[in-house]
Amino acid sequence: MSVQVTKTKAEQMLTEAFAGAEAALPGSDAVTKLRREAIGAFSALGLPTRRVEEWKYTDLRARLADSFPVAMDSVSGSQAIGGLLDGTAPGLLPGLNAYTIVFVDGALEPRTLPEDVKGLEVLPLATALESVPAWVEKALGETARPADAAVALNTALMAGGVAMRIADDVSLDRPIHLVFAQSGSEPKLVTTRVIVDLGARASLSLVETHVAMGTSVRQQNTLVTLALGEAAQVAHVKNLTVDKGSIHLSNSVVRLGARATYKPFQMTTGGGLVRHGLDLRFEGTHASLDFAALALPDMSGHVDTTLVIDHRVAHCTSRELYKCVLDGTARGVFQGKVIVAPGAQKTDGKQMAQALMLSPEAEFDSKPELEIYADDVVCGHGSTSAEIDEDLLFYCRSRGIPKAEARALLIESFIGEVIDKVEHEALREALVARAGAWLRAGHV
């Protein structure tokens, strides 16, 4: 590792932003120590460039010109949140009957915290960082000593968010929907952290929506840690729109106990720069991951999905299905790294990344990486990139279907396979509608 001598303007601004905000950031002395270590790590790492393998196709150092002012978890709760709660605001998921928790510019709307749900403990992030119960301490430990700049910045600057724990054997009757809304017209840097801990055999449907309500551009850094106890189950849908000029850096840090199952699904739209990181580790045998993602960037959007799947133990299964539809000069990136540790026999890992190219100027970068140190495993990967099939288009049109409708039908058939992975019916229908709206917004 080389020590960076010259700092970019953004790197300097981010370090200064921490110094200016530190006194107001929530947390115990131990948390303050973590934050300082993290900003130290960030200073040493600098913003990632293409030379950092995990950021090969997203040169954040080049893309991030400066930093925006830090938003603190102290905003008044007076914003109009009606449309966020009932799902009628644009970009939301109508018809989803959920416990909805609203954050405006990262600040928790305390009125939206669910109360008296049996088996669910939920704390505002600030409270969790002050009191640091054992399960929160463990979660924070997973992001200590970060090797990734975005994770380091999140730990240093996390201001808003929530920590949740679901007791053993509890299945919530409804999904928990975290709505992160960006409001106003001033540029802001918003850093949020969500901590989720599931006991043995507990199950949760977690939905995250990130949506811009105002006109401002944002730099958003969001991190979710998920710890799944033995045989716990999580379906985790992330639904986001990131507008042009905004940057969304997200990371999920997931630890799976024995026989646990984790089913994430991400759908990304918008013209901004988006980076999804998943750092997942199998810690108990017979656990499984079923990852699916759909990127529908606007004409100039950039969506990078980079996974590191660590098969630390034997008999675990991982599946990844990534699809993107790229128009204009949009860029889709998929990097899927699967590590199979020496003892992780009977690992079963498969990944597939597919791009549908609507424009000759669009770009798809796909990089599978398999690091296998065990000898009795099944691992595979595939990647395709194609335009709309002219023969199929003619077939549809010869049946009277007009060109735009035929293209829409064929694009929908391409993305249908991945949206079908969402098992919750109302949620799946809302996502299908969102994809349909994207299509009708000039992409056919």
Partner: protein, 251 residues
């Protein structure tokens, strides 16, 4: 009435002339067969009628009911009543057969100024027509043609034809890949659509299909133009003598 007048067609991408002055008239209510050796331009004729890209009409015209269709997009032609049953029907993964049928049916109805079918109306019609072709509605819940046998694909084509109610039906090698039982089902389906308002052009290499779909006229297409026309007995002659007389060599 279909009128093909002195049609010259070349491949758009290469300098190869396929049709060289083809002239043909099919009145409403009649079924005409086009027979010919491989490479004579039969499939090109079918695709040019349906409006596929990749072909260039360098001379001549195609009139349907007195109106040139050459400038029309494939979907406009479909709305005007043109239907091509493909030799190799396409598979569309991810699109359920019923969705496809309903989208197509309502698209042409809309263009023809007819009311779109509601879901219950559509289901009633499709069930009725599918039953006549021995197609289970369950099969239509699967993606279009995916995993279908050759016979199932051809029956699915005829069902599309029945749903779209075209007035000009072009059947390209509909008998290829069919066993004798499937051939009968498909032929019965086609015969059921014969009507005084409908013209049909049946393109085939073999006479076998014409035992089931009996044509009013038979035309021999070779070297890009109609070489000979006659009644249904011409098909039987060809079965005996082959196409050698039209190509100058044994077919």
């Amino acid at each position: 009435m279909l009128e093909i007048k002195n049609l010259f067609v070349k491949l758009a991408e290469e300098d190869r002339q396929i049709l060289k002055g083809l002239t043909l008239t099919v009145p409403k209510g009649e079924v005409h067969a086009i027979m010919g050796p491989n490479g004579s331009g039969k499939s090109t004729l079918a695709y040019v009628l349906a409006g596929r890209d990749g072909y260039e009409v360098t001379d001549g015209d195609i009139l349907w009911n007195g109106e040139s269709i050459l400038g029309m997009e494939p979907d406009e032609r479909a709305a005007k009543g043109v239907f091509l049953a493909f030799q190799y029907p396409m598979e569309i993964p991810g699109v359920a057969g019923l969705t496809f049928l309903r989208t197509a049916t309502n698209a042409v109805r809309k263009k023809r100024g007819e009311a779109e079918l509601s879901t219950p109306e559509f289901m009633r019609v499709v069930k009725d027509k599918a039953a006549k072709l021995n197609i289970a509605v369950e099969m239509l819940k699967r993606p279009v043609n995916v995993g279908f046998s050759g016979g199932e694909k051809k029956r699915s084509e005829i069902l599309q034809m029945a749903m779209l109610e075209p007035t000009l039906c072009v059947l390209d090698e509909t008998d290829s890949g069919l066993d004798i039982d499937a051939l009968k089902v498909v032929s019965d389906g086609v015969n059921a659509l014969r009507s005084p308002d409908r013209a049909m052009l049946v393109i085939t290499h073999y006479q076998r299909l014409l035992n089931h779909i009996v044509p009013d006229r038979v035309h021999v297409l070779a070297a890009g133009k109609i070489q000979k026309s006659g009644g249904k007995e011409l098909a039987l002659e060809l079965e005996k003598s082959g196409y050698a007389e039209f190509t100058g060599k044994a077919a």
